[in-house]
């Protein structure tokens, strides 16, 4: 009797442990957190990117991070000749002959490779056999900044 009870007691414990494990394992494999809706949060996070408009007043298409960095440089260094909308009609454009490039000209821009744009910014107009009125910025900006700028000038394509 005593033995039986002991065995039964042992068995009980094993069963409990086994069952507990089963429950735990099944519990784990189920997806957690499905029902605990977090307090006051939902997935429609406010990601509206008003930040782009800091740089320019024109309604921008969704700009990537790099294009946005390029935009800030463009506004400071380039817009004065090339114009805020990239139309080559900046404040100083009318003093220049030939006029600054119109970045909205899709046909022209499509024919340009990324390397050519980077070269023009770095080495200036004369490095690509164009007007020396476009200065070289290769010793003012680092490679990353020129990369960002080269991406940003492409965003004007097809503009109004």
């Amino acid at each position: 009797m005593r033995t039986v009870h002991r065995i039964a007691g042992y068995m009980n414990r094993t069963t409990i442990i086994a069952l507990t494990w089963t429950v735990v394992l099944i519990g784990c494999s189920g997806k957690r957190g499905e029902n605990d809706k977090p307090v006051g949060t939902n997935d429609t996070a406010k990601t509206g990117d008003s930040t782009q408009q800091l740089a320019s007043s024109r309604p921008l298409r969704e700009l990537s991070y790099e294009e946005r960095q390029g935009a800030f440089l463009y506004e400071k260094y380039c817009a004065i000749c090339h114009g805020h909308e990239g139309r080559g009609d900046g404040f100083n454009a009318f003093n220049l002959d030939p006029r600054p490039r119109d970045f909205a000209d899709s046909a022209y821009m499509k024919a340009l490779s990324d390397e050519q744009i980077v070269q023009t910014i770095s080495g200036g107009g004369r490095s690509v056999n164009k007007s020396p009125l476009m200065p070289a910025y290769g010793w003012t900006f680092n490679k990353r900044q020129i990369h960002d700028l080269s991406l940003y000038v492409r965003t004007f394509e097809g503009g109004e």
């Binding site: 065995i7 494990w21 977090p38 006051g40 800030f72």
Partner: protein, 659 residues
Amino acid sequence: MELDMALEGDLLMKNLRIVFASVAVLFLVVLAVSPMKDYFREWRGYQAAYNKYIEGLPQRVKPAEPGIRQIWVRKLDRVDRCVTCHLGLKEPALSNAPEPYRAHPQIYHDIEEFGCTVCHEGQGAATEYKESIGKVKYWDKPILPRAYMEASCAKCHKEAEVPQAPILNLGRELIRESNCAGCHKMEGFEKEWVPSLDGIGSKVNRAWLVNWLKNPSAYSAKTDMPNFLLSDDEANTLADFLLSFKQFAGEVPLDSLPGRFTTASDAQKTRLTDLGSTRFREARCISCHPINGKGGYVATDLGKVASKVSAPWLFNYLRNPKQFQPGVMMPRYRFSDEELLGVVAYMKGEFVDYDMEAPQEHSIDPGFYEKGLALFRKYNCGGCHSLGGVNRAEEMAPELTTIGSKKLYEIDFGKSDIEQTLPLYLTTKLMNPRAFSESMKMPKFGFSQKEAEAIAVALLGNTSEKLPDEFIVRPAPTHAFSPQGDFGRLVNDLSCLGCHIMNGRGRLVATDLSLEASQAQRKWIEGYFKVPYSLRPTLTERMPNLFVGEKEIKTIVDYMETSFIADSLDHPVPENPAAAAAGRVLFFERYGCQSCHQVNSKGGYVGPPLDKVGARLNAGWVFHWLKNPQALKPSTIEPNNNLSNADAEAITAYLMTLK
């Protein structure tokens, strides 16, 4: 009996065996099944889809080995498993791929070295989407929305201007401009100078004050004074309280206007007004003061000032501004009493607010002083303005030094039904300070959404996180440049540092003067004080004519020649026609300098015209400027053309012939 018991025992044993067997089988099944759940992990799906996605690309991209990946940043104590699913972060070919595979934009920090969550927040150790973005219970740092991304830069970057973080920079500038530190304690921000209210009872009229208290921007659109949303009663009581302060600090007396101002004949008055009008223009008041919104932005709008201040105050103030407002940027113009009277007559006649509401019938409440004082304390007017004899409420608003680590449960969203996140709470509160409760005391600053978000970015960066010292970029030490003697007195009297920087102190509205004597020729500087023509015609903030005398000019230029000079900027430059001719060719044909500079009235107007540059600048300066403009003026947009010494010397030789 014993047999029974034995039988019973047998039966029990038999049953137990069945139970034991079934449990054992169950256990085995569970053991066999449990690894299977690993095969249904969310991230495995993402990894499989990634490998499928890259197969369709024209370029070859290395497929992902299945498994959890992580970046362990020991120094920052972070383990970020985001890279388990964000597989293309370092693949340039994937710069336009859909998320979560898109390449990370080029930034100045290496992902391997910094991890993800130190900037993006969220739960780095999580391996399921929902948990990783941290929008789950008990995780206080959910992923930062893109508009607020630059807040993370602020955790380490404490310097004045953070490169590549324009929104953060804007936010910090707005915090400074709006003088948030007047009420909120905040690391890195000091209280800005704000006019003292001492003697306000002898300065302004009551109708103006009541309207001003109710809505400051109606009087001056660009004012920094926020709207405290006061009721009519509150505005009236506060006005009565303030107007009872008639004594200026230091008991400075207010002289009455000379008798001839009132007894003058009409013809004399017209002459006086004409003189005032001329001096008002010559002194270029509008360089700093806007008139009804047009003009400079540095000082207060003068468009309606005649309806605000009394004529005697204006006369006394113009005669010596700092006597009434120590610390004010307004320079002391060297006007004679006659000229001062003229300017006062002109301003009193010209800048009247014809739309100002007529003062309403109003009986002064006998308890106005106590009630007014209570309002003054309640809205912490003393946080910004000093008022003699009234003790300031000390830092009554919450400290904002660690606001970015505020827990959601600590925030009372009150009646508002916005999405409950910290960035949104701050932005909403900044735009509409009463959005969460009517009993809030913060005034309305009239921030746009863009501005409110920028300030929220700067505030979110104020966290209690302890980051290792080696990551922190501290602001450059501030200079305590404080010129003494005659020059020091002149700098204070003329408020040079209101627009110019000298040895790191001052404000960059105009040129940095720290190397002025190396840059410009003595004769030119002397002449400039007498006729401060604009070097760049397109500027709005132009140097005023302060009417300083010969002796004062000498004091200033003598000081510059001993202190604002660097011998290292000397450089011998050839003075022969051949060098100049070579320089001319380089100037026009090789470097295209005429894109930005005028010579002989032809060329661009981005930089200053160079027509008479040979009589303005020193050759050594021109040479060093051409070699590396940013070394002399970091913010200049003139590119560094990487000139050889020979080229720079030749161009300098050419420019020095332009006289």
